[in-house]
């Protein structure tokens, strides 16, 4: 049975747990590198091989519409690059500090790594909420369009 003092004590990490955290941090590092590489290549592809601009199918659209579409694509690329950069930074920080912290038996470094992992999941959660919001908005607009 746990005493009050044991309830307040920190979680003891045994050898097995440390091994699992190190393995996870290594995999997270590889995932982070692959993810940022994919984003950089897609940005490169956007500038080197841009997709043909979609032509407006209806009458009444000027050339500005096509320019606006191109500007929107560029904005999307910049936003995705910024988000990928943030995700990479946090995941790679977790990978680096968790490994270093466990190898050097430094709790501060491990805590810093875990904070970065928490930030990584926080960003993912914000993205998921934004996606859900956009999805609901799209459904609402479709419904309203159908009624109108």
């Amino acid at each position: 049975m746990n005493t009050g003092q044991e309830q307040q004590s920190s979680i003891p990490l045994d050898f097995y747990t440390k091994c699992k955290i190190i393995t996870t941090s290594k995999t997270a590092g590889i995932a982070a590198l692959l993810s940022i590489a994919g984003t950089l290549v897609s940005v490169l592809a956007f500038f080197l091989k841009p997709a043909p601009l979609p032509q407006p199918a209806k009458e009444g659209f000027s050339d500005n519409t096509a320019q606006l579409a191109a500007g929107g694509n560029l904005l999307m690329v910049i936003i995705s690059l910024a988000i990928s950069g943030l995700l990479f930074y946090n995941l790679f920080t977790f990978s680096r500090y968790a490994k270093k912290g466990l190898e050097q038996d430094d709790k501060g470094l491990l805590t810093r790594g875990l904070i970065a992992l928490g930030a990584y999941f926080r960003i993912l959660a914000v993205l998921a909420i934004s996606f859900l919001g956009l999805l609901l908005m799209a459904i609402l607009m479709t419904k309203m369009g159908g009624i109108g």
Partner: protein, 141 residues
């Protein structure tokens, strides 16, 4: 006199709320992601059940490349991606649950089990990223 090995700083009974809080922080955000993910998944399943055939037919018609069997290919690709995404969310959900239990019970075994599932989640993420990287490289060439 026998030489005693210094205990690891991770095996001391010193209270470190900041350290413990990080596990529950990770667990909380991971749980939120899985909740939203399962919600979106349920919505997609409902959409496919009610209007799936029409959606896939429209997607096949709108595809830039026309070929025979594109409709069937789209359906198969959808199910493959859907089940992989479900597996990824399941790994994250299990990791969040084990981390939460580990923090509540101060149990290292649960924490390690949580990291086993987090490792599987990152493996799946790495596979997704590798596929995305290969697709992006193929568009460059």
């Amino acid at each position: 006199m026998t030489e005693q090995e210094d205990p690891s700083i991770f095996q001391t009974n010193e209270s470190d709320p900041v350290f413990d809080q990080q596990f529950s922080n990770i667990s909380r955000w991971a749980r939120l992601i899985t909740t939203i993910g399962f919600g979106i998944g349920a919505f997609i399943v409902a959409g496919v059940l009610f209007n799936g055939a029409a959606i896939f037919r429209e997607m096949a018609a709108a595809a830039p490349i026309k070929m025979t069997g594109l409709y069937g290919g789209l359906v198969v690709a959808f199910f493959i991606i859907f089940f992989i995404a479900a597996a990824v969310l399941y790994f994250l959900y299990k990791a969040a649950n084990f981390l939460k239990t580990g923090v509540q019970q101060k149990d290292a075994a649960s924490i390690s089990e949580g990291f086993v599932y987090l490792n599987r989640f990152f493996i799946a993420m790495a596979v997704f990223s590798a596929i995305s990287l290969l697709v992006n490289i193929s568009t460059l060439l």
